[in-house]
Symmetry: C2
Subunit: 359 residues, 2 copies
Amino acid sequence: MKLFYENDFYYIPNMKKKVTLKQIARELDVSISTVSKSLRNSLEIGEETRLKVQAFAKFYHYKPNNIALSLKNRKTKTIGIIIPEIVHHFFSTVINGIEHIANENGYSVIICLSDDSFDKEVLNMEMLANGSIDGFIMSLSKETQQKKDFHHITEVINQGMPVVMFDRVTDDIQCDKVIIDDELAAYEAVQSLIDKGRKKIALVTTVDYVSVGKLRTDGYTKALLENGLPFDQDLIIKIENVDNCEITIAKLLEDKTIDAVFAVNELFAVTIIKTANKMGIKVPEDIAVIAFTDGIISKYSTPSITTVTQNGIEMGNMAAKTLIERLESEEDENEEDEEEEIYKTIVIETHLIERESTN
Amino acid sequence: MKLFYENDFYYIPNMKKKVTLKQIARELDVSISTVSKSLRNSLEIGEETRLKVQAFAKFYHYKPNNIALSLKNRKTKTIGIIIPEIVHHFFSTVINGIEHIANENGYSVIICLSDDSFDKEVLNMEMLANGSIDGFIMSLSKETQQKKDFHHITEVINQGMPVVMFDRVTDDIQCDKVIIDDELAAYEAVQSLIDKGRKKIALVTTVDYVSVGKLRTDGYTKALLENGLPFDQDLIIKIENVDNCEITIAKLLEDKTIDAVFAVNELFAVTIIKTANKMGIKVPEDIAVIAFTDGIISKYSTPSITTVTQNGIEMGNMAAKTLIERLESEEDENEEDEEEEIYKTIVIETHLIERESTN
C-alpha cells in the first residue's frame, strides 16, 4: 500500500465505488486497451506500465469480470448485442431478426452501441460481460477493424462466454460468424447490369477500413474482367462524407459514356439519381443505378432503386439461433471432457430486388 | 410447503435457476401483470390468485428486484433505455442524443426494445432494474398506452430508481418528461400551408392509441378553425398499414379540390407523392405535402418533402441531462430529510424544414 502514498498517485474523490477500466485509464493517462492488457499481464505492455496499472487496480479494489463464475451460478437468459451504429437500417433489421428468435426461445436482448469507437466497444463488452448477459452477438466497429486489436473479444471467449460475429467480422478471432458473401453479391449485381447491356459501369464506394468495402470492390472487378470489360480505376470513386458528395458524383457523371453505376449503399444511389436528374441525365434510360442495402429509401425513391438485399432479418435470425444453440449445448456439456470447439461461418444468401432504376 | 405436493403444481425441470416473473406467469397460466401485481399484494387481483402466485413464488425462491439495496451499494453508471421500436429514424436519433450526453458524463447506455408490447416492456424493465442500471429513459409501448397499466413503472419509481419519459408519455405517472408540443407543431405546419394560400387541407394519420396522434389532429383542427376554414371529417384519413395504403390515398386524391396534405409521418408523405405522380397530380403545384418526421427519406425524395422536425437529438440530450442531474443530486441528498419530489416536463421546440413539396 505504501507505494501509493510515496508515489505519483493522488486521491480520487469518487473512487469509493467500484473502479472501472475507464477510470483507471483516465487516472493513469493510458489507453483503456493498455489497462485491460496490463491487468491480464500481457507482455505487449512494458513492465513499468504493467506494474503501475496492476498496483493501482489492486489499491482501488478493481474487480475484473468474473465471467466464468457468473456463468456457473446463473443464466441470465439475456443476449447482448454490440453494433457500430443505430441510424442505419441494416443494423436495425438485424436487431429485429435477433429479437424474434431470442424471444421465441425465452431470451431477452440488450443492445449497446460502439459508435464505431474501439474504446466504446471495449467498455460496453466489459459492462455487459459483467453478469448481465449469457453471450454476445456483435459487429465490429470501424476503429476496431483498423486497429486490429481484438483482445477484449478474445478475453470474453477465453472466459467461456460465446460470441457470434455478423457482417463486420475478422479472421483473427475464432468464433461463430454470420456473413453474406459480399464479393459474390457485388459480382451478381454488376453481372445483372452487364446482362442488361450496360458496358461502362462505375463503382461508388466508401473510404473506409471495413472489410466489406474491399470484398464488394473485388466482386465488381471480377464481373468486369470475366465479361471482357476494361477495368478503369477512374470509374471507382470513394466518398468520404455522404452529405457533400454531390460534386464528386457530378464530376463522375460528366463522363457521358458511363451507362451504369453500382453504389455500395442507398444514400449514394439516391444522391446519384438526384444529381443525374439535375444534370438532365435520365435514370434508367441513360444510366442504370443499383445499390447494396436493406434500407427503405430505395423503395420510395423516384425512380425506385434496384437493390442487392443484405438480408438483415435472416442474418439476425441465424446469429441468434447459433448463439442460443451454443448456450444450450454448453449446459449439457461434461466439463471434464472439454473438446476443441468447432466454429461455423454461416453465409446468408442475398438476392436482387429489381425496381425502376435498372429497367 | 405441503401445499404444492398436494395441490395443482407440478415439477418444473428448469427451475433450479432463479425463477422469473415470466416463468411464474406461464406456469400458473396468468398474465405477467397479474403475477407482478399479486407479488405486490395488489387488491386489484382476487385473493385466490394472489395467494397462489405468492405461494408459488415463495416455493421457487422468486427474488424480486432489490433495487433500493443495489442503489445503496453501487452505482452502475449505466442508463437503461426502453423504446417501442428501432426501425424508426426518430427513436434512433433520440438514442444518439442520449448517448452523446451520457458518454460526456461518463455513463454507458443499454437499450431494450418493447416492440410495442406491454409484456416485453414489463420484462425488460424488470431485467434492467435488477442491478444493471441506475435509471431509465423510456417511451411507452402502444399496448401500454392502450391498457393504461403503468404499475411496472410506478414500482421502479417507488423503489427509488428515477425514470424519464419522452415522446410517448402519460399523465398517470409522476416523473420527469421530455416532449414536443405535438398540437402546436401540427398547428404551425397546417398554418404554414394556409399562409401559402392552401384552402382544402387533408390530414393523413395513423389508426392507433398513441397519445401524439390525437394531439396532432387537435393542432390540425385548431389551425383550420382559427383561419375560418371548414372542418370536414372526410378529409381525415387513418391508415392502418403503410404497406397497402396506396388505394386509400388514391381515393382521397380523387377529390381534385384538395390542395394540400399534412401527413403525420414521412412514409405516408412519400406514398402520397408517389400516388399523386401516378395520378398526374403535381406536387407542389396541385397539392402541397408536409410531414412530421426526423427521417431521411424526406430529404432524398423527389420532390424533397417539407417537414416538421421532431428534434430527436435534442430530445435525447434533454432526457439524458435530466436523468443524470437527478441521479447525481440523489447522491448528495440527506436521506433523513426526504422532500416531495418536484418533477419537470421539458417541451422541446420544433421547427419547419422547408423543401420542394410545399413551394
